[in-house]
């Protein structure tokens, strides 16, 4: 299940299902009962991708009873869970001989196209951050203080620690195509608490700049951008506020680009020169987004 689908499910499914979905994702930090469950997921796999795959794999082989028995034993220690893991494989193997051979040979549940190799590494991507003055990226030791304090991570698939690591490794495609990259409110909690004083929010913004360049832009964001080009304001004035301003004697329009058309032209010149118009697909002739 892609991150987007998970998030969608998070908000659209009934509560009982949502909770299940959360624990699937290792998200349910607020329920201490589930810690063993989390541990299990971690010993089973180190990344979300493998996690997704492993649960999918089990569903495929219709070993749902095995999953249930694992859920029942969630209070037990990880040694037992490893046994359960073996049990999964045994059952899988007995049912699907072909899979058995594949798994035995590869010793992993990952498919070939899910494995990260050096081919996935784009060193230039890492260099972008260093060149932008965010050298602190390189000293991250993955302690997880950032993710631990992240208010977004409590409710979304956004994982700051993972993002920092992926940027350092140069996993460009993973970083820029991930919807979760946009779940950060830039609240700086991670950066304030980072023991290595890494400029994490700068990393997030730089990664977003690269994502935007590659075309990963939400229509709503393009729209906000277009408001600034059209009016000079991300939130332009409306009739109701004009009336209020008049009522309290402030004058219908604030002394901003709203009142000074030549000033608005300056803003428009800037967004044209820097390529922002093209970036969001703003057509100057029609005055609208393409």
């Amino acid at each position: 299940m892609s991150v987007l689908e998970r998030l969608k499910a998070f908000f659209t499914r009934p509560k009982s299902e949502v909770i299940e979905n959360i624990s699937d994702n290792g998200l349910n930090q607020s329920k201490p009962m589930k810690t063993d469950d989390l541990q299990y997921k971690q010993t089973y796999s180190n990344t979300e991708e493998t996690d997704n795959y492993s649960s999918k794999k089990m569903n495929d082989s219709q070993n749902l009873n095995v999953i249930d028995s694992e859920k029942d034993s969630k209070n037990e220690n990880s040694v037992k869970e490893e046994k359960a893991e073996e049990k999964v494989e045994v059952k899988t193997n007995s049912k699907e001989a072909n899979n058995k051979k594949e798994e035995k040979d590869s010793m992993t549940l990952l498919k070939d196209n899910e494995k990260l190799t050096l081919d996935n590494v784009d060193e230039d991507f890492t260099k972008l951050f260093i060149d932008a003055g965010i050298e602190s990226l390189a000293v991250c030791f993955q302690c997880g203080t950032c993710t631990g304090g992240c208010p977004s991570g409590r409710r979304t698939p956004y994982r700051v620690r993972q993002l920092v690591r992926n940027c350092l490794m140069g996993l460009k495609d993973q970083v820029i195509s991930d919807d979760a990259l946009w779940m950060c409110t830039t609240c700086y909690t991670c950066q304030e608490r980072c023991p290595r004083e890494i400029k994490i929010v700068e990393i997030v913004k730089k990664a977003r700049n690269e994502a935007a360049k590659a075309g990963f832009m939400a229509p709503a964001h393009k729209a906000t951008g277009s408001f600034v080009i059209k009016t000079g304001h991300g939130v332009p004035i409306n009739d109701a506020t004009k009336e209020l301003r008049n009522r309290v004697g402030l004058g219908e329009l604030p002394p901003t680009t709203h009142k000074f058309p030549e000033a608005l032209k300056e803003v428009q010149t800037i967004t044209e020169i820097t390529g922002f118009d093209d970036l969001i697909g703003f057509n100057k002739k029609t005055g609208e987004l393409e």
């Binding site: 977004s152 946009w182 700086y188 935007a212 964001h221 800037i270």
Partner: protein, 302 residues
Amino acid sequence: MEIAYFLGCIMNNRYPGIEKATRILFNKLDIQLNDMEGASCCPAPGVFGSFDKKTWASIAARNITIAEDMGSDIMTECNGCFGSLFETNLLLKEDSEFKGEINEVLSEVGREFKGNINVRHFAEVLYNDIGLDKLNELVDKPLNLDVAVHYGCHFLRPSDEVQIDNAEKPTILDDLVESTGARSIPYKDKMMCCGAGGGLRARDIDVTLSFTKEKLDNMSDAGVDAIVNICPFCHLQFDVGQTEVNKKYGTNYNIPVFHLAQLLGLALGLGSDELTLDSHLIDSAPALAKLVEESDKVTGGE
């Protein structure tokens, strides 16, 4: 004292009562607010900062040059504007290469960033330049209100650069609120974000509302009469967002929301009319009723 008054977007284009209260307050404090004619959006860090750093810094720098031409520091009462303008100002002062790049853009509109002024936040100006004692003297009627103070994110952070107060356990805003006679009530996860920033409100309102609901739950548990903020975007999120939370989660929150300027306005004796409290979606009446009750008590006893 003179200061270049940066308006931004949401305050002047949605909640003009904040602007009105500020102008009246600074008039009483004998500080001249000079309009920055032709200023634009700061621009919003969540959209422009996340999309293209060069565009973001160029527009912010253009705004700064307006104040440079006026020869005075900038004051804004929005955390987002403060974040964009403060950060750009610092960045261009420290990084001459980037400054050159931005000035190349600005030269096309006949401007140049010089780097000879500072960017300041309304709350910090009140605290450091005016002082709590003087504010307290201005208070016409002490406000009998229990208040949840919301700092927002870009007022104190990144604290290494901003250096206004401790970013985890600050007191500056609580002190300012209490100078009006109101009480700042502690609540769980007080420093948490309202959820609107970083472009999230525009892109994924459900995630934003989940943040806001957690804040409202915690504020409500503490039993407050009102929320006080120093950022029109947080203000909008607690006002409009509160109605959205109620709709989405079936809750029935009704906690009035005041920007610090409006709270000070109430303490100066300004009416809800001037503070445009009627432009709020969340009715301020319960908090105002508590204030009236209190003043009746005082006069009734005389």
